[in-house]
């Protein structure tokens, strides 16, 4: 065989593999959009579920997911950012800091259902928050901590070492240097990490199972100690627990979830590009 032909075969093979990766993504989107689009309407987005969830909308679930994600980020962002600052700016490389890093990597690898169980044991039972928005948001918050810590560390590392040296050489203290130079420079990366964390939290089901999610609660929550519906869990419920449910409602719910998560991620990407373009060094 000629080398040229060999090369062509190799390229075609690689291209095929790439196609195999893209194909499922495309198919999922196509199927969900095709089946779910007919269900989408203003009423579907703003009405409560009716007739045993076979009719009506998913408004409480949307609101529930919104509250949970908001709570998770309020909890996880400050802790994650401060933890990353400590690890990146204040610790030197030693056994202790390596242990912490290892713990964070492991935290990211824990299956989400285990977080759910952990959240139930700690927040629902030990702290007696009950199955509530608070318990669910805290559980989600712990789950997205690694995402936020890792992306913040990445952002801090991308700030040139020279900026810190210049600042120190001008007699500016370490904390002031972090506050006035390092954090503003790392801001785009931190925000991107936060938004990716939000996207991850919005799509998770398992951590909510035992901590917050209501099977059917056709009203809005009154306090953070209320239970609430959430889109991913709602999708699970209507897909497995309710017989004779119109298919378009399932796909409609799935479509809302996908749009939400992809939308959040897209927003993160655009924001990062915008902020990056603003600052050059």
């Amino acid at each position: 065989m000629k080398p040229h032909t060999k090369q062509r075969i190799a390229f075609s093979f690689l291209f095929l593999c790439t196609l195999l990766v893209i194909l499922p993504v495309g198919l999922i989107l196509i199927i969900i959009i095709k089946n779910g689009l007919p269900a989408l309407s203003w009423q579907f987005l703003t009405d409560i579920p009716r007739a045993g969830m076979r009719e009506g909308g998913i408004f409480p679930a949307i609101i529930g997911t919104f509250y949970l994600v908001l709570g998770a980020i309020i909890f996880a962002l400050p802790i994650g950012v401060m933890c990353a600052i400590y690890l990146n700016e204040y610790t030197k490389e030693n056994i202790f800091s390596r242990l912490i890093r290892l713990a964070i990597i492991n935290l990211a690898g824990i299956p989400s259902v285990v977080y759910g169980l952990f959240g139930m044991a700690l927040f629902v039972m030990f702290f007696k928050f009950g199955t509530s928005i608070l318990s669910g948001a805290l559980t989600l918050g712990i789950m997205i901590l690694p995402v936020i810590i890792t992306s913040t560390q990445e952002a801090l590392r991308s700030v040139p070492k020279e900026f810190r040296e210049v600042s120190f050489s001008l007699g500016i203290s370490k904390w002031q240097t972090i506050k006035r130079v390092v954090l503003p420079c790392a801001f785009p990366g931190i925000i991107t990490g936060a938004i990716l964390g939000i996207g991850r939290a919005a799509g998770e089901t398992a951590p909510l199972l035992f901590t917050v999610a209501a099977f059917y609660l056709p009203r809005l929550p009154r306090s953070i100690f209320d239970q609430v519906m959430a889109i991913p869990y709602h999708l699970y419920v209507i897909s497995t627990q309710i017989p004779n449910i119109p298919e378009k409602i399932r796909y409609g719910t799935a479509l809302v979830l996908v749009i939400l998560v992809l939308g959040i991620n897209l927003f993160a990407i655009i924001l990062r590009i915008k902020l990056r373009r603003k600052q050059r060094w």
Partner: protein, 253 residues
């Protein structure tokens, strides 16, 4: 120059980075209002020496030292020294121009903000510093613009102004012209010679001709040792040590 009062006295200084013995038994006096240039091949410890004087080495992993650096009558490595205050008194200009990602004005005001409450005084100090660094005429109408819009030479003069704004006693220059064209270099050399009236200047340079042009005294470093220090003219015409002569005439390094 040697008649001027001593500004910094380095006594038997040894520096290690992890296992590397970077500076070996350095003894050196630096006099007020002189320009002392430090020459020597790469890895001879010039920059490490400079960074010992404003304690910037403290940040480097594995840094250890013995000996004394006396400044203002005190050892700068003794426990009761406020490092931030020391770094205001001993300013530094780095090899490459590194403006912070702020406006021209904010770059110069950066070290003052938080220390001086009065905005009017900050404005005056910024203007004075930019004038002393011979940059004022070029930037006075665009102080709010990003510092990255300036040319390399202008950026380096901005960095000098940033240091001058703090009104230090000593300025450490770490190869300040290494990334600059000859015209920008000439401007910075001119600035240094005028600054000598108010400041003590220590200049690390890879360019022996630059040392000859601007400095009063020259110190020659080789492999972490101070080989000799003397009046610049003497070093360049009648050095005591063969290795100094070899380096200056370009036989090695």
């Amino acid at each position: 120059m040697v008649d001027n009062p001593i500004n910094i006295e380095v006594k038997d200084l040894n520096v290690w980075f992890k296992d590397i013995h970077a500076l070996k038994g350095i003894n050196l006096r630096i006099y007020k209002n002189e320009i002392l240039s430090i020459i020597g091949p790469a890895n001879s410890g010039k920059t490490s020496f400079l960074r010992t004087l404003n304690r910037l080495n403290d940040l480097t992993d594995g840094f250890r030292m013995t000996g004394k650096v006396i400044f203002d009558g005190k050892d700068i490595y003794s426990k009761d020294i406020d490092v931030n205050l020391l770094r205001i008194k001993i300013g530094m200009v780095f090899a490459l121009p590194i403006p912070l990602p702020f406006s021209i004005f904010d770059n110069v005001a950066y070290g003052l903000q938080g220390r001086i409450k009065n905005n009017k005084e900050i404005n005056q100090r910024v203007e004075k510093a930019l004038k002393s660094a011979y940059l004022w005429e070029e930037v006075k109408d665009r102080l709010k613009e990003s510092a990255y819009k300036l040319s390399g030479g202008q950026q380096q003069r901005l960095c000098i102004a940033r240091t001058l704004a703090l009104e230090p006693q000593v300025i450490l220059f770490d190869e300040p012209c290494s990334g600059l064209d000859p015209i920008s270099t000439a401007k910075i050399e001119e600035a240094m010679i005028r600054l000598k009236n108010d400041y003590t200047i220590i200049l690390v340079t890879n360019n022996t001709k630059q040392a000859a042009r601007v400095s009063d005294r020259t110190a020659f470093f080789l492999s972490g040792e101070l080989i000799e220090t003397d009046i610049t003219n003497k070093i360049f015409t009648a050095s005591m040590d063969k290795r100094t002569e070899d380096y200056i005439t370009g036989r090695f390094g």
